[in-house]
Amino acid sequence: MCQNENPLLQKVYETGFALDEATLYLDTHPEDSQAMEYYQYVKRASQSAVSAYEQTYGPLMINQVEANTWTWVNDPWPWEGGN
């Protein structure tokens, strides 16, 4: 992956992708205990990457707006390539 200049967002991408891979694998291998351990690990990593990013740059999910104003509407939006 090309390195993102924002290291907090880079971490969100990396851990989010690991979670996507683990969850699809588990869908067809729900009894794989090693994969379950990996899932628990990447789930925690992804959660902490997301909250670290959100603290500085605002919500990634609509139910994570912590400010007094509606920061969900703030630019940039994902397709704009400005992150």
Binding site: M1, Y13, G16, W77, G81
Partner: protein, 213 residues
């Protein structure tokens, strides 16, 4: 239901516009083997899937495809930002521009509009999963074709990511197919359609024998 996550699954940051390339890549937005067809195919097929692993994989790959659809739109959008009329004319982007300006609209590279006939939902889990295996390979070929035309690293990078996902999804659908077949009679997988036919159980077989006596 779905909730939006305000990021792409894979980042897209393109500095050099290229409307000609955008016209090729838009095929993965609304073309015959594109990401919109993929998402609709898998999410629509779920209702005829009798087995739990299959229900999960159709849901989660279908959801990921929605994210890929958004990545393609982001690529096309960034390739066509701030174009001048001269650039549009010289690049051959004119016919698209006349109807859509630089808005995003689902069509194939050749201009054919998106059509639900690009995918199948046949109501038979074996048939549907074979459709999906073929669909993932067709999308992989399309990405191979696109990659031969791309020289810009900013565009190659997310396209390569999407190409690799086709291969992973092919693998997962293969596993789902094996799971479906494990539920069926290995002497004849096609003896009945588990999404439609009432499956004869031991008890009903016995009772129908008694009835016929």
């Amino acid at each position: 239901m779905w909730r939006y996550e305000k990021r792409l699954q894979y980042p897209v940051k393109i500095s050099q516009t290229n409307p000609k390339l955008a016209q090729f890549i838009i095929s993965q937005y609304g073309g015959p083997d594109g990401e919109s067809a993929a998402a609709m195919r898998y999410l629509s097929q779920r209702y005829a899937m009798p087995y739990s692993k299959g229900k999960a994989i159709l849901t989660d790959i279908g959801t990921e495809e929605l994210g890929h659809w958004e990545i393609i739109a982001a690529i096309v959008h960034q390739l066509t930002r701030n174009l001048t009329p001269q650039e549009i004319e010289e690049s051959g982007f004119g016919p698209y521009y006349i109807d859509h300006t630089t808005g995003i609209w689902p069509q194939a590279a050749g201009g054919v509009p998106f059509n639900a006939c690009e995918f199948q939902s046949k109501g038979d889990p074996i048939t549907d999963l074979f459709e999906n295996l073929a669909a993932e390979q067709k999308a992989r070929t399309t990405y191979d074709n696109i990659l031969r035309m791309v020289k810009d690293q900013d565009v190659c990078d997310p396209i390569r990511f999407l190409r690799e996902r086709e291969i992973v999804h092919f693998q997962r659908f293969g596993e789902a197919l094996r799971d479906v077949q494990d539920h069926l009679d290995s002497r004849n997988f096609y003896a009945f359609n588990p999404a439609f036919d009432k499956v004869p159980t031991q008890n009903t077989r016995q009772s129908s024998r008694q009835n016929s006596k």
